[in-house]
Symmetry: C3
Subunit: 387 residues, 3 copies
């Protein structure tokens, strides 16, 4: 009854492992007790992926010879508190996936060709501007995550697109790196109204520079979400972010400008100020510090957002957030962590702009809400295990 697991549909030579060709099973199980406290309602429970998004994936690289490689990557999001999948495998970058709660490779599904000229990647993956949101010590899924990320004004294309054609520069450009991302909305040529023909089309790019302790990157992305004749609901984000490692602490920051042309419907936050004007803008920034302490690290972050809703015609909701956390590494793969965050609303901003946005981000629990111009608070304490 001897058995083994092969990496492909043939006998593999385990003894002659080569780094060039491999198939890897990997994942993250991250479960936390989270309390999300709003002025109207609070909710507590187990949440998933606060420290790092819970996931299960399969990836591989094949050496084709002559410096050429082929690679694939399938990665599904998980709610590790319930076993459900997280749903985000939009087919057209506009419509949400129908299969809520099911397992699907909505985090990433790509095939690549890699050479000394860089990488061409096809399929579903992060947009370039997303990477600028990851400089914060709290990442993009903690209760401590910057409001820069949680504002999520540009919708589906804030994080990923499907149907993407990506180019990444090689790692040999002396610290300079860049990427280009074009994605197709796959609308039929006779779409009605004709403005919707471009729905879901996305263009993004990013350029960065890494040198010693310093890194800085500029990113831009734009997605077409025109839905009605005469109303162009395009959304874009431009972002500058970077970090500097002082040794005793790694400092990071991001400035982000999000624009929505000819806003129709929607709201800033969940139950918050309705966005009704034209050319709404969201300006936000976040700064953070990661201070190594023994086998762990202390994290701190401050972020602000201000929305110019209709260029002076509408309201100007604002939110500011302060977060503090500690992560203790039991090993390279396993960590215990805890964070707390407090968010203050003003200018009419309500729950969504505050920690309900955090709750929305906190996979697995929802229901907290905060009245306009009041504050809310959230805590998390959990364990993150990678494999």
């Amino acid at each position: 009854m001897k058995k083994y697991l092969l990496g492909a549909g043939m006998l593999a030579a385990f003894g002659a492992a080569s780094a060039q060709s491999s198939v890897t099973l990997f994942g993250v199980i991250d479960t936390a007790y989270t309390r999300d406290g709003g002025s109207i309602a609070s909710v507590s429970g187990l949440s998933s992926g606060n420290n790092a998004s819970s996931r299960l994936g399969f990836r591989g690289v094949e050496d084709l010879g002559g410096g050429l490689k082929a690679g694939f990557w399938l990665e599904a999001g998980l709610n590790t508190d319930s076993g459900a999948g997280t749903t985000n495998a939009s087919l057209d970058n506009v419509t949400a996936s129908a299969a809520a709660g099911s397992l699907q490779f909505g985090r990433r599904a790509t095939v690549s060709l890699l050479g000394n000229w860089g990488e061409i990647r096809l399929g579903r993956d992060f947009v370039p501007s997303y990477y600028n949101d990851t400089f914060s010590p709290f990442g993009v899924t903690s209760v401590g995550t910057d409001v820069v990320v949680q504002s999520n004004l540009i919708g589906q294309a804030q994080q990923r697109t499907s149907n993407g054609i990506h180019y990444f520069t090689p790692a040999t450009l002396g610290g300079i790196y860049g990427q280009l991302h074009y994605a197709l909305g796959e609308q039929p040529s006779n779409a009605t109204p004709s403005a919707t023909k471009d729905n879901g089309d996305y263009l993004g790019l990013r350029l960065g520079y890494r040198a010693g302790p310093a890194e800085v990157a500029l990113a831009y992305g734009k997605v077409d979400v025109a839905r009605t004749t005469g109303v162009n609901n395009d959304r874009s984000v431009a972002s500058l972010a970077g970090s500097y490692d002082l040794g005793v602490a790694k400092l990071s920051g991001e400035y982000s400008l999000q624009k929505i042309r000819n806003t129709v419907g929607g709201a800033f936050g969940n139950g918050g100020t309705a966005l009704v004007g034209t050319d709404t803008e969201g300006k936000s920034f976040g700064v953070g510090a990661l201070v190594p302490v023994g086998a762990g690290a202390i994290k701190a972050g401050y972020s602000r957002i201000q929305v110019d809703n209709g260029h002076g015609v509408g309201t100007e909701p604002k939110a500011a957030k302060f977060a503090l956390g500690y992560q203790h590494n039991l090993s390279k793969r396993t960590a215990l962590y805890t964070s707390a965050a407090r968010l203050k609303n003003s200018g009419g901003s309500a729950s969504g702009a505050t920690l309900t946005a955090a709750a929305v981000r906190v996979s697995g629990i929802s229901g907290a809400s905060t009245a306009p111009n009041t504050s809310s608070t959230a805590y998390e304490a959990g364990i993150r295990h990678s494999f």
Copy 2:
């Protein structure tokens, strides 16, 4: 084109396998021909998981040093007759998962810390009382399964909860073992009516003792499913179960007391007697014998259930079931099996209390129904393969 499958996102040393740190792919494919015969309608087809629930899973353990370990476990249920997933990844222990038929880790999704003090486990997993249902030689998914299990009066929390915080005692207590399970329903603090604030909250515990050929365990579980103002629809189960191995036969038994406070709606069985009273109680017991014969074993079971619907005000449906089966082990991993069961209804009990309950349990086929106070019969013949 040499390839291999790594257990994590890095090169692994296959030659130096250590039991302390591992990632394992595992599963069960169990498919049977099943005929479920009721007095109104019968149905036959291929079903899944009659001998052992069909599943696909990934689990792992990491040695953190100093006696501390971290572990994870992801396990999805399968309908191996159709390839669909079995759906049970409720987010709040009240509402069923939306993604019927999709693959999801609804059987188990947990992360653990283990030490010589025991195990702390977070996520979705069995409730303590479930383990008492597994003493029967037919397990919990055969047509021969005890009516104790099939009555399923307490709903979602009869088998598992999401959002669970579990503690398990270590294996070093001289045969004594125990577990504690608290799960959160994750309702918002302003839920309306306010009684629903506790919906899905669960508390369960189990204490057992194992010595030589004998084992006995006591289990209790209670879930809040209050849905309407003034109506407390709490459900609980208390159970005593055990087994004794005589060598020529392993005997087992379970007594279970299920209570529903202030019953509203619902029915005992599918299409059977409506449960309308207050404080409905279901008393059930099952006894079984497993007789090893060569490479296989003969199984026999008898079980009864009596429901006191509204404490003398309503009806008292009853059901009794006799089951006989044989399992032939082709190897440790693979077995052929067959079972037959006959169930007699009385006191107004109808299909659901009988083999339609079995049909509901038999993943992959449904549709058999039986008139009140009549009998029904079911057969199964299948193959179970583990990997």
Copy 3:
């Protein structure tokens, strides 16, 4: 932190790998840029599985000794452009699966016993007549795929059934091979109207002969899809296919006869001629050539279909298709490919019979449409990577 991946729930002896017992992870990631051009609407985007259906699977074989083996196979379809699953895990061979877009093992979910007498296989898998569609150099999912396949007149059972009981002859019959496939629709015995009692029941068989460069196979399949009293909507397919390898080119061909008794509703093609008569017949053939060129191969195919809708009472839609392609193999596992196809409709045939049928087959994009009696054109250029 040494780790490894075991093929089963126990420590495996990696050094003593034996071909008899194994568990294998495998898959295909195939993503292409596709343009599907109809006379009414065109659509372009990334599609999945044009060269070989994108998939992720787990399979294994266990040596039981004495020439007996047990095996399992779980295979899920993927949309690699979006990460969604492809949905086809029907429970009863009539109703589509509810969980659109979720991952499920709808391509194949089987358990087998294998001996020198052949193989018995239980679960969801291809129907026998499907294999006759695979002789074409374009396979069953390219824009170049024969209209034989794309007509898809017999619905769900054209490709697979759930609840199947299969028998396959052993490989030791001197080039002769055969298979028998019976599948259960699992309808209750009191189904109303009673004609629907047989819904989803399927019977199919295939007999073939392989000798040197030549292969020929005959296949038949019939599925009951009666839906209304007095209307028997049975569907059947009979097919003869084969190939001959000349060395400089491998030639292939298929003739297929599809019948629908007492047609109600439905349409030939998407938006095309409604099928309203009785005993509709679809006659189709396809011929193809695969010409090896260096590390790749040129492919060519021509196919025609003519539908006799109601035996002279209704219309007789026709479609003819010509396809040309080239595949360049970067390795055994990875290939670049491109194909173009032109389809001409006549006799009232419209989009569905043409390249919208191709679009329907092309997983991941849809929306192209063609007016009756006009032509349409499609292109694809992609990468297929197996693991």
